[in-house]
Amino acid sequence: MRYLPLSDIDRGQMLSKIGVQSIDELFVDVPQEAQLTGPIRELPNHASEMAVERHFQALAAKNTVAGQVPFFIGAGAYRHHVPASVDHIIQRGEFLTAYTPYQPEIAQGTLQMLFEFQTQVARLLGTDVANASMYDGSTACWEAISMAGRITKKKKAIISSGVHPHYVSVANTMARFTGDELLTSLPSLDAPLNPEQELINQIDDDMSCVIVQYPDILGNINDLSAIANKAHDHKALLIAVVTEPVALGAIKSPGDMGADIVVGEGQSIGVGLQFGGPYVGLFGCKAKYVRQMPGRLCGETVDASGKRGFVLTLSTREQHIRRDKATSNICTNSGLCALAFSAHMTLLGEKGLRNLAMVNHAKAVKAADRLCAIEGVEMASGHFFNEFTLKLPRDARAIVQELADQNILAGVSLGRLYPKSEGLDNGLIIAVTETVQDEDIEALAAALEASLMGGLA
């Protein structure tokens, strides 16, 4: 077994040092009837590297690789190009195989990286501070709702119809058990342009927070200032959710528009698609709320000789000290994905992120114009960044499948995201990033056109 260094001679010497005859004597506390006498028979024995690789390659071959086909899927995870050096950096053994930096004298690499990450995230989201990451955007979103409840001591929250339905599902799962009341609603393909306006009218003094997504699930971008003001009038917090952080290279940050807590999915920068995980949750807020934040925080300090250094700080909020009174049960975060995010963001810098964002927007506009020129296809989004929703003349689920069968990954049908709501079946969310080429747009347009013609005939 290539990963196990002990030889039988070693084992014998060690057993005699311990003072026992056999390994079984070390398992004396385990009742005999609970112990297996040999390897589990239903499972195969060990395999060579080559055999494992062969197996994995065979499984991988059954999947359609995003990078090999015209690809327009977004809805909470986005395909961006990740520079080669990012993957090299996260494979440095000193990052990859390090532990949580609880011993700061020998973890300054991870700690400084986290401090840089927190600074990048806070600046991007427009918040005073940010933490060292969460599992993903959806869990960060619930943590934000939970935090707003602790701050305002209120248990009712209102979630915009523009928030990703899976994020709403996660919040509903938790609220069912914590006793929080969540007001939710479904988006509409007919009047989808500014769901925030409707929300504003519903905010009252009982609400701990209002949760909006920016850009929203249908791709719309709307000014959040009015809703922030209304929320603050009622002593409620505004929580903004960002699932596409590249957008913030082109549009105002939620913090600049008055959001108190901004959470996000950082996957777009550096992390890659990976079939849904691991991703990296972003979490920023106003400085005055920092003691109510969940998750790890890295802070600057000095060492005994006066040199600048970094440590995990404000740990008394966390489970390992506060136990049942902790702000969250989160322990492990998403350190290595935070490194990928930070390294990619460093490569981009201010200029690169802005350029990247403009290229995304330009390609999306180009695709939108081309697709909306197809007969029967209507634009259902208003202002957008790199994602928009089309209203098709028939159920988008069938069309997505039809196009997938032709090796075109066309987008996400609203029917898949909102199975309960009839009025949304014809909606299709299309994401267009820098990875999309003109010929991809043409291939999608042609296939969609053909499908609709066939469907109408």
Partner: protein
């Protein structure tokens, strides 16, 4: 001889450095390979970019007047500077790749590089979670295959794959318990947790809306089963028990505990953080538990990455299986289906809902399956046996020198627990830890579990050779001897690390959590 062959005056002897003092400081502040590194905000500029982005013809903006007008404040570096920045930072970290990493309850074992290679196959790394199901059959099959291994290794009938880490898995198990109890109209409000439990246990139960009560430990470091039996009643939803426990001991009465809890109408959550001690040799399902999370980043070697990402699938009993979270994978004939909200409407599933946006940590599933297949049933059994052997070897190589509070009662499992008893006055566990840093090791887990004073919890794992253990024991004994002898140099250790002890009090009193331009800081004051 020609002049040019005369060595050009280059000395051929080295000087005896013993009598020669080294310079006090260098111009750069560096010490040869010990390189300090500024922050990216101090190094870079807003104009520098390490990525070439293909230019686009500008289009008429559809951003609706929300164009960003203010600077973000990001600093960029070229690719060469970026690689150097992170490489220099990386060298200030300790890591498994550098040496033995004896953190108890954390299972820092070697991370095979085959796993990394498998996770990076485009067919797994470059697929989107919302792709049509027909285009991700191989990915769903992989999840199903890993699920099969986990179920079989634990002897449990079902598994929820989506939890993102251990604590998230705990939450999954507790929510399943709550959903099952509510389904039978039996709302209960208390979760019992042993006092030796990891902090996530009480935090999770509280996060899920339960009140937490502690059960004491016996003198022998086990759950006090009499106290537990006494506390059980109609208000107790369940217990959360770590087995092997955080003292590194197996709970021999686990089956009895499960039976007692079940008889009182409650359910049993087992924290599987220490599964590495029994994998392949003991099936937790045989002990009557209802739920247990498995940290893929511990037992199954997915990298810790400086604090995540983790992955925490939860195996479930028949009683809890119907309440498993969405989404999950099912198979009909040769087709794998992903049951999301859409399909769950059609089925009679009692799922408690969704825990995360997508399907879980696919990138960790690939790594874990690669590890598991590499070991196989025979190799995994050897894993737990070697892990336990290595821990007992350390226990018996130290217990003449260092107090092992449970050492007299018998062997430990995969980790050896010591206390600070016998250290000189004014010396504590932290001084032993920092002394180990100077010896070139990451310290053991310190001050946990709380039931032992000044705890030192050492988990060597099975991927250490006997030589590696002997070297570590030599260092550990040396440092402990210094702490017992009152060697003051230990109080200011580490002396050879990139940083001396850091002022955590200052960091917490006036938190500086983001970098600010120096001018801005001065102006603010």
């Amino acid at each position: 001889m020609k002049e040019r062959d005369l060595n050009q005056g280059r000395p051929s002897r080295i000087f005896d450095t013993a009598n020669d003092s080294a310079p006090a400081a260098t111009f750069s502040g560096n010490k040869a390979l010990m390189l300090d590194e500024p922050l990216i905000f101090e190094l870079g500029s807003s104009e520098t970019c390490g990525v070439d982005i293909d230019a686009m013809e500008p289009v008429k903006s559809r951003l609706g007047g929300l164009e960003r007008s203010q600077v973000i404040g990001l600093a960029g570096l070229s690719e060469s500077e970026t690689v150097r920045h992170y490489t220099r930072l990386s060298r200030q970290n300790y890591a498994i790749d550098l040496g033995l990493f004896p953190l108890g309850s954390c299972t820092m074992k070697h991370n095979p590089r085959l796993n990394e290679k498998m996770a990076r196959i485009a067919g797994f790394s470059d697929i989107h979670p919302m792709q049509p199901i027909s285009t991700v059959q191989g990915a769903l099959e992989l999840i199903d295959e890993l699920a099969h291994w986990l179920k079989t290794l634990t002897g449990m009938p079902a598994v929820a794959m989506s939890p993102k880490a251990g604590a998230h898995g705990e939450l999954c198990g507790i929510l399943a318990i709550r959903a099952a109890l509510e389904a039978r109209g039996d709302a209960r409000e208390v979760i019992l947790v042993p006092e030796s439990a990891h902090g996530t246990n009480p935090a999770t139960a509280a996060f899920a809306g339960y009140r937490v009560e502690e059960i004491p430990a016996t003198q022998g470091g086990r759950v006090d089963i009499d106290a537990l039996a006494e506390r059980l009643g109609p208000d107790v939803a369940g217990v959360m028990i770590t087995n092997p426990n955080t003292c590194g001991l197996f709970e021999p009465d686990m089956r009895k505990i499960s039976d007692l809890v079940h008889a009182a109408g409650g359910l049993v959550y087992c924290d599987g953080a220490n599964f590495n001690a029994i994998v392949g040799r003991v099936r937790p399902g045989d002990l009557g538990i209802d739920a247990m999370h498995i940290n893929l980043h511990k037992t199954f070697s997915t990298p810790h990455g400086g604090g995540g990402p983790g992955s925490g699938p939860v195996v479930l009993s028949e009683a809890l299986a119907p309440y498993a979270p969405l989404p999950y994978v099912t198979q009909t004939d040769d087709f794998f289906q992903l049951v999301e909200e859409e399909q769950s409407l059609l089925s009679d599933s009692d799922t408690f809902g969704r825990m995360t946006a997508f399907h879980g940590q696919m990138g960790m599933f690939t790594r874990a399956l690669s590890y598991i297949m590499s070991h196989g049933a025979d190799g995994l059994k050897q894993v737990s046996e070697d892990a336990v052997l290595n821990a007992n070897y350390i226990l018996r190589s130290m217990d003449d020198l260092l107090d092992a509070p449970f050492g007299h009662s018998g062997p430990c499992m995969h980790e050896a627990l010591f206390s600070d008893k016998g250290l000189a006055d004014g010396f504590s566990t932290i001084d032993v830890s920092k002394g180990l840093i100077d010896e070139g090791y990451h310290p053991m887990t310190m001050y946990f579990p709380l039931v032992v004073h000044g705890a030192m919890l050492v988990e060597p794992t099975e991927t250490e050779s006997k030589d590696a253990l002997d070297n570590f024991i030599g260092s550990f004994r040396t440092v402990v001897t210094k702490a017992k002898d009152g060697d003051k140099s230990l109080l200011s250790a580490p002396h050879f690390a990139p940083r001396a002890r850091l002022d955590e009090t200052a960091a917490a009193r006036k938190p500086i959590l983001v970098w600010n331009e120096p001018e801005a800081t001065e102006a603010a004051e």
